[in-house]
Symmetry: C2
Subunit: 164 residues, 2 copies
């Protein structure tokens, strides 16, 4: 399994669904969960458009826009309109933003990627499937508890239901 990004997305969905994002993270460095999430996305992906951020953190463009407004007000990020396509806007971290982010704790993602990649492939697949199952359960209106996971079913089935 090459892309651990799916795992991260699944993790984020679990975090949001369980309200960890707000209760656990809001104190640290004065940033809320979504704010941290977005700032990390900007740092990790480099020159990103609003749309790309939204896609990566599973939020609407409108939501990302308003959160960026607040971050920009605090001089933690800034926007640059693309010259090649003037519809697009790139978000960047300011130096202050990068500093703050570096000091902010990241209990969930800290060297997670490195460790995850050292796992056996079948184990990675199993973990991903489990996370997806949890995330789907959180977001589902009617929780269907019947289909139990088996290693066999996991290895066959790659996709997972998108958020309703």
């Amino acid at each position: 399994m090459k892309n651990y990004e799916q795992v991260l997305v699944a993790l984020r969905r679990v975090i949001r669904a369980t309200d960890l994002h707000s209760k656990r993270l809001s104190k640290h460095a004065g940033l809320t969960g979504p704010q941290l999430l977005i700032m990390r996305t900007i740092r990790d992906l480099g020159e990103v458009t609003i749309g790309t951020i939204a896609e990566n953190v599973s939020l609407s463009q409108a939501t990302v826009t308003t959160i960026l407004d607040r971050l920009e007000l605090r001089k933690l990020v800034y926007r640059v309109r693309s010259t090649k396509d003037k519809r697009k806007v790139h978000a960047h971290l300011t130096e202050d933003g990068a500093d703050l982010l570096a000091r902010a704790p990241n209990p969930l993602q800290e060297d997670f990627i490195e460790k995850f990649q050292n796992l056996a492939e079948w184990e990675q697949t199993m973990i991903l499937a489990s996370l997806q199952r949890v995330a789907n359960m959180m977001n589902a209106d009617d929780i269907d508890a019947s289909p139990l996971l088996t290693v066999g079913s996991v290895l066959k089935d790659d996709g997972w239901k998108e958020k309703s």
Copy 2:
């Protein structure tokens, strides 16, 4: 009749419909008809958005955008994105643009407004109705020649068909 703008719009439509805009004006000052039209709109209306320009010259926003691109390339206009509403963009004339526009002949609009306002109201109404009739005829696929203008009908009927 307070607004002579309707008369100007009607005039512009006649000009476009008869291709005067390109044949007669394109030589002067190196500007084409639509370019002149748009630059005058910017000068006369002050801080205008793209949408307002489009409305005033009866062109689509997309068309105004591309024409402004060419004018901006020649440093005759510049754009400023509104800080109050970041969707909006204001167009301005550069000094070069204002100079060029001042030297450009304006055979159709030169002190037209002042003279027009000195006419009697019924006469203004009559002229507007006539222009609208001509403009509508130009744009109509099937020209209906039957209804002749009368002073009575003109004074009653205020609206006119929008361009199809």
